[in-house]
């Protein structure tokens, strides 16, 4: 019994890992298609139907390129940097709940890599480690542009982590739990009109999404690789697949940030009328309770991925629309606007909870 559950769980973990990589792969394709769409071009359409084999062609190109080590580089750390960037990017998708649960007889399979009761802090901790890959790679390159990029990345990540954490604290005050599964389940109560967290935390969400852009080094905050000032920033000296790993890690980070946002603020795997649908499938269509639950759970997975894809599209939309910030503007935005706003948001949330405008959370599950 336990062994069977463990087997299912390891399958889920493998699928989560594979899906993270697959989505990151096709993000490279989506980025080009969206860029082409926004700039009124055709975009990649040569490799395969609609250019769908483009990521494979890119991978072949990257693998067959010359691997280059700059003179005076710290060789071990030069290799270690991109690996670390990739590992830290992939680690955080482990705790994200992609669906409620499937039930086969007595076996219950939770559609989540692992459930830990400090899930949100875990994601936050992994995000704060993400900067090491960039810093180590940039320093080990023995190039002043790389070093400047690495140092920019470090200070930017530290600055925006603060505002991000403070924005999350407001959510925690409402949820009373650090577990991402609990936070998801709280956003939808059976038989009641219930809102997602975005309605209760609009300010917190805006702060969070701005910080997510900064943490993933996406435009308008891609100062660490600002090519007009720093050639290519921390990956100036990288070539071949090591460069590919850095680019890939960025897309995995975008995927994870989108997943975290849809789980915390947009109800995760909840979708409107899910309990009514389950009831209807059970009573009117004559399905067993388990089968109805499984169908609703699969629709939940579809809904969470729809939200994730929407956010990924938003990331790309912003990238091809907004110009880059100047570095002092970036720092001023982080320290003097976002952090005070986040503290104000905490006070506001506290006030709304004590006055009872935000209702108390029910542990209904």
């Amino acid at each position: 019994m336990l062994l069977e559950t463990l087997g299912w769980q390891s399958l889920v973990i493998l699928v989560v890992f594979g899906v993270s990589l697959l989505i990151a792969t096709y993000c490279t394709y989506a980025e080009r298609v969206i860029a082409a769409f926004l700039q009124d071009r055709v975009g990649p359409d040569r490799a395969g139907p609609f250019g769908l084999a483009q990521p494979l062609a890119d991978a072949v190109k990257l693998f067959t390129k010359e691997e280059f080590f700059p003179s005076g580089a710290n060789k071990a750390l030069f290799i270690f940097g991109p690996c670390l960037a990739m590992v830290t990017a992939l680690m955080s998708s482990a705790v994200i709940p992609f669906g409620s649960f499937l039930k086969f007889g007595t076996t219950i399979v939770h559609l989540q890599g692992i459930e830990i009761n400090v899930g949100m802090l875990y994601v936050f901790g992994i995000v704060s480690l993400g900067v090491y890959g960039v810093m180590i790679g940039g320093w080990a390159s023995n190039n002043k542009f790389s070093l400047l990029g690495a140092i920019r990345a470090a200070s930017q990540n530290i600055s925006y982590e603060l505002a991000m954490g403070l924005a999350l604290i407001a959510v925690l005050m409402m949820s009373g739990s650090l577990s991402l599964r609990d936070i998801t389940l709280q956003q939808s109560v059976p038989g009641e009109w219930h809102f997602w967290n975005i309605v209760k935390q609009p300010l917190g969400f805006i702060i969070f999404i701005v910080c997510a852009f900064a943490e993933t080094n996406r435009t308008p905050f891609d100062l660490p690789e600002c090519e007009t000032e720093l050639v290519a920033g921390y990956h100036t000296e990288y070539s071949s697949m090591k460069m590919g790993l850095y680019l890939f890690a960025e897309y995995v980070n975008v995927f994870v940030a989108s997943a975290v946002m849809s789980v915390i603020y947009f109800g995760g795997f909840n979708f409107p009328f899910q309990y009514e649908l389950r009831e209807w499938l059970h009573s009117s269509r004559g399905l067993s309770l388990d089968a109805a639950q499984n169908i609703v759970a699969i629709l939940g997975v579809v809904s969470v991925f729809a939200k994730i894809f929407l956010f990924i599209f938003f990331f790309m939309w912003v990238r091809w629309t907004l110009p880059r910030f100047r570095y002092d503007q970036l720092m001023r935005l982080g320290w003097t606007i976002l952090i005070p706003l986040a503290i104000f948001n905490i006070l506001l949330t506290g006030g709304l909870i004590t006055t009872g405008i935000i209702p108390e959370i029910k542990q209904w599950w």
């Binding site: 901790g125 480690l129 090491y132 810093m135 690495a150 140092i151 530290i158 982590e161 650090l178």
Partner: protein
């Protein structure tokens, strides 16, 4: 038990690496590894909150600043100043006496162990920790938070732009 031994082995090895590495950047990376093994020890003790907070605060923030400063200073073996012999001898004596005191203090300690009947496996969980912090130790907790607030205000004051100063 074997996991504990393995983690302790890695922890000691990486702690030795911090001291013995010639390159300061390597030292910092070994120190980060040490923090990770410490977090793993907390996990073995079922203190998940402490484990993750240790990673966020030490590995995620403080060590990034360490690395930041060391990368800026561009320290390496060639530029390292030669330390006088007296300083080396003094450091050895100081470190050795600290070791001696710790061994002497811990020599006769018997680990208390735990009673399975009364042991609470949930003691390290975040809700339990919050209850203890905010009920039993609320005054020290608030004092510590005022201290941190004062430090934060101080750093903001230091970083504040002087009147008439323009960077751009």
């Amino acid at each position: 038990m074997s996991l504990f031994l393995f983690l302790s082995f890695v922890a000691l090895l990486s702690a030795l690496g911090v001291v013995l590495a010639k390159n300061p950047v390597h030292s910092v990376l070994f120190l980060i590894l040490t923090f990770f093994t410490l977090s793993a020890h907390y996990l073995l003790l079922n203190a998940q909150f402490l484990a993750v907070v240790n990673i966020i605060v030490y590995a995620g923030a403080i060590m990034v600043l360490f690395l930041f400063v060391i990368m800026f200073l561009n320290l390496n073996e060639d530029t390292e100043p030669h330390k006088p012999a007296l300083a080396k001898i003094a450091a050895t004596i100081a470190g050795g006496s600290l070791l001696l005191i710790m061994v002497a203090a811990l020599r006769n300690v018997h680990p208390a162990g735990y009673d399975p009947a009364t042991f609470d496996s949930q003691i390290g969980m975040v809700d339990r920790l919050g209850m203890v912090l905010f009920k039993q130790y609320s005054l020290p907790f608030e004092l510590a938070s005022i201290l941190l607030l004062a430090a934060m205000v101080g750093s903001v004051m230091l970083g504040k732009r002087e009147t008439g100063e323009r960077n751009f």
